[in-house]
Structure formats: C-alpha cells, structure tokens
C-alpha cells in the first residue's frame, strides 16, 4: 500500500472535523475524496502533509509512519501538495515558483531536468516563465500550483479542489492532465467538490459527510450508487 490513513481524528479546538477516517491508496492509482463543504476533505490533506496534527490515528506512507512529522520533512519523503486556493507565490515569477517547488532537490542539473519535464506537461507555463505568478489567469495559476507540486518529483500528489473557479472547458483539460500525471507513475489523491470530475478520473473514491466516510469503493460503482447520483452528481 502506498498510503494508509488509519482511523484519524482531527480537531479544530473542540470541534471534531475528521471523525475517524481511513483511506488507502494503492501505488499508481487515482483516489478521490468527494463531499460538500465542511466534510473534512481538506483537513485530511492538511493532516497528511503535516500542516495539522491528528488527535489520534496513524498515517503510513511507503511503510513509514509520518503522522506528526513537520510538513517540510513529509514533502521530502515524496509527497507533493497543490493547496486549496492555489496559494502560488504571487510576487515570484513562474520560474521562481517552480524553483521553490524543487526546493528539496539540491542538484542544479536535476532541477533543470525536472523543470523541462514539468513544462512539457504544462506548455502554457513556459510562455509565462518570467511573469509574476500574480499576473496569471485563474486557470494558469491552478496549472502553476499543480506544476509546483510536481517539481519535487513526488510519488504521491495531493490535489485540493483544483477545479474551483475554473471554466468548464479547463475543468475537462484538468481531468486529462490528472490522468497524464498518473500515467507518469504518480499516485494521486484528489479532493473535489466537483464530484463528476472527482469520480470521473479516479480508480477509487470515498464519499465524506461531516467528517466521516459514508461510502467507499470503485469509482464506477460509486457513480452508479443511488445516493451518490442523487446528492453528488445531480442525476
């Protein structure tokens, strides 16, 4: 198993945001967490990457326990994180943003090689190379956020609401892109409110409601589930 989240609970003050959630990711698969606002999806990602400490439970990555480690250390173990709301460095150029994404890599040639690979995936960024991140359009900023997370050559990438605020056409491109990233051998954990995209690209899915997993399984089966259809797909 690439990633195992075992029964984690996470609190904000006294409020329990995640109430004992377990998620498994097989190597090389795409897994989606879907659910509405306040379901605890983003909190799970923040806990995974070390920005938030779980109150109980364990997180195992590549057979190593990582819960409680500080974020920079977890990043170094090979997890990339594209944050909710993009959170690119708006005052740095696209090039500098990508350099920061490769911060854990020391070798200059290796960084250059990585830069070329990532730019092949996101050709638009090459055109914007010397522009400040803040001058990009919303879609381009989202691409930059994902590209930055890919720079450290992660074996698992966490994508938090990448479709938020994007035009439908770009959301479609995003689906293709997530598949392309996955084809490079990277496992993907996708958090989406856009359940159609979330389940559409995923191999497996988890449906979260107020901090708990209410449904899990093969994403095709989930899409056929009546509850999912009614609440999340609006069919």
């Amino acid at each position: 198993m690439h990633l195992e989240i075992k029964n984690i609970k996470v609190h904000y003050g006294k409020v329990e945001a995640v109430k004992g959630v377990s998620v498994n990711i097989e190597k090389g698969t795409v897994v989606s967490l879907i659910g509405g606002n306040g379901a605890g999806k983003s909190t799970i990602l923040r806990t995974l990457i070390g920005l938030k400490k779980p109150t109980s439970g364990e997180i195992w990555f590549n057979g190593e326990r990582i819960d409680g480690l500080p974020a920079p250390q977890i990043t170094r173990k090979g997890i990339g994180y594209s944050m909710e709301g993009r959170r690119i460095f708006s005052g740095l150029t696209v090039h500098e943003n990508l350099e920061m994404g490769a911060y854990v890599i020391k070798d200059k040639q290796e960084i250059q090689k990585r830069m070329d690979e990532v730019c092949a995936l996101f050709p638009i960024l090459r055109e914007r190379f010397d522009q400040k991140g803040g001058t990009l359009s919303g879609g381009e900023q989202q691409m930059l956020a994902i590209a930055r997370a890919m720079m450290s050559e992660p074996s698992l990438i966490l994508l938090d609401e990448p479709s938020l605020g994007l035009a439908p056409k770009i959301v479609q491109e995003l689906g293709v892109l997530i598949r392309d990233i996955n084809k490079m051998g990277v496992s993907v954990l996708l958090v989406e409110q856009n359940s159609k995209l979330g389940l559409g690209v995923a191999d497996r899915g988890y449906v979260l409601e107020v901090g708990e997993v209410v449904l899990e399984g093969d994403s095709k089966e989930l899409m056929a589930n009546d509850h999912v259809k009614k609440i999340y797909l609006g069919v």
Partner: protein
C-alpha cells in the same frame, strides 16, 4: 552651491545608514511578522563592536589601519548576527503569536540591550579614530574620507543584500516565506531556519551601519533611539514589507532631515520628516511602494 553639495553628501550618508537599519526592520516584518523595536540596538552594538576592537582592545593594531577596520566591522557583524539569532530563537519565537505579545517583548529586549550596553561599556560617549584621514576635494567642496568610506561601505552592503535576496535560492525562499509561509513549508522550506537567517542578516547589516558611522558619530548605549524612529518612518513611508520602499523611504527621510537641519534649523528637521510621513499616508495609506493585500 558649496553648502548645497556638502549638505547633499551628508544627506546621502545619513540616508544610506538609515537604509541599513530600515531594510532589516522591513525583512523582519515581512518574514517573521514581527515589529521589532529592539532592532536599533543591533546598530548600536555594531558601533560598540568597532570601538571594542579598535580602541578598547586594539588587537589588530599591528595591521594596516584599513585592514584592521574592515576585520573589526566583519567580526562585529557576525557577533551581532549571532546575538540577533539567539534573541529570535529563544525570546521572539516562543511568543510569536499573537503579534502584540512579541511587539511588547521586543520593547523589553530593546531596554535590556540598552541597559546591558550601559553596564558593559559605561555611559560616556566613545569615539573611534577613523582609519581614513584627510579630505577629498571636489572643486570647492571638501568631503572627509571617512564619510566617503561610510557611503561606499553602505552601498556595498545594500548591493550584497540585494543580490542575496534577488538571486540566491535562500533569498527566494525568504521571499516565499514572506508571501505565504504555509505554502513555503509544503515546498520543503524549513521556516524556522529561514527565520534565523533573516534575523541574522538583518542584524548583521544594522551592525554594519553602526560600525560604518562609528568613526563619524559618537557611540553610546542610546545612539539608536532616534535612528530607529526614523527607520520605522522610512519603512512605513516606503510601504510595509517592500525593500525598495524601505530604501526610498530612508532617502526621503535622510535627505529631508539633513536639508531642513542645514537651511531651516535642526529643531524643525524631525517635525518636517514626520509631517511628510503623515502626508504620504493620508494620500496613499499603503505607503509609496506598498499595495493592497
């Protein structure tokens, strides 16, 4: 004309020294989100540093004066940087949240460092004999070599700092932390280490300022009280968090003060400086180089 050029040269020197303090204040504010009232004391300690090595314990006496002076400045910068990093790690960091707490703690550190300098070095003004004797004669204007050296020294330090922040991996990481520390952490940037580096660099250049003007002004435990006020004004004037703004603010304040002192009267200098600051903030509340969040 003669008076004008003389005043201009003095104003440039005052502005550059102020810039060395203001840049550090601005870096610490941008990266650590701390309004550090104790920052001027690192400038003061830099002054005492050169005095210590050149006058109190002239261990470099055998060397050429210039070499001894440069070594004294560099050692003072390193020592002050270490003191600054200790203050940041063991005093500021444990009380970083909320910001009001650390601001008041920094006032305490300011008073402590002033008192410590008073105990260690005494209240009497110290002077350092300059390794740069003589005058440069430019037409009818004469300018002392020591002032020229201070100007060149300040420019060198500002240039080095600019290159570090603009070009190096560490400098980019510092800017990234200033923009979004959480996003920086998930790139693998250890923010604690960046805090230490930012504090160390800021304190070192403040110390350089004190060490460079040491031979020109007197050195005493309270020498930073007025400069830190002006440095705050420079940072606010330039736009909080903007380094070019801090330098521009330092020039506006340094030049205004020098010219008003010379042509109107020293009593009016600070009044005019702060009136300008208030005026700019009324017209553009974010400061000259600042922008809305």
């Amino acid at each position: 004309m003669e008076v004008f050029l003389q005043t201009l040269a003095n104003g440039v020197m005052a502005s550059l020294t102020l810039a060395l303090i203001a840049i550090g204040l601005c870096l610490i504010f941008g990266i650590l989100s701390i309004i550090n009232f104790a920052h001027g004391e690192f400038y003061m300690l830099g002054g005492f540093g050169v005095w210590w090595f050149l006058e109190a314990h002239p261990i470099f006496a055998g060397m050429p004066a210039l070499v001894g002076y440069i070594i004294a400045i560099l050692i003072s910068m390193v020592v002050v940087a270490v003191i600054g990093m200790i203050v940041e790690k063991w005093i500021f960091r444990p009380v970083r949240e909320p910001h009001e707490t650390v601001m008041i703690v920094s006032l305490g550190v300011m008073l402590f460092l002033q008192a410590a300098a008073l105990v260690a070095f005494g209240p009497v003004d110290k002077s350092v004999s300059s390794p740069f004797a003589g005058l440069v004669q430019l037409g009818t204007v004469s300018f002392s070599n020591e002032r020229l050296a201070a100007i060149i020294g300040c420019i060198i330090f500002i240039a080095i700092l600019y290159v570090i922040i603009d070009r190096t991996r560490m400098g980019k990481a510092m800017r990234a932390v200033a923009m979004d520390s959480e996003a920086a952490e998930v790139q693998g940037i250890k923010t604690g280490m960046i805090f230490s580096v930012a504090m160390g660099v800021s304190c070192a250049i403040a110390a350089a300022g004190g060490a460079l003007v040491g031979p020109i002004y007197y050195i005493n435990p309270y020498m930073a009280v007025e400069p830190i006020m002006k440095a705050f004004a420079a940072v606010i004037l330039g736009g909080l968090g903007s380094l070019p703004g801090a330098v521009a603010g330092a020039f506006i304040i340094g030049l205004t003060e020098t010219f008003v002192s010379t042509y109107v009267g020293a009593h009016f200098a600070l009044i005019v400086v702060f009136l300008i600051m208030i005026g700019v903030l009324i017209v553009k509340p974010t400061g000259l180089f600042g922008h809305e969040e």
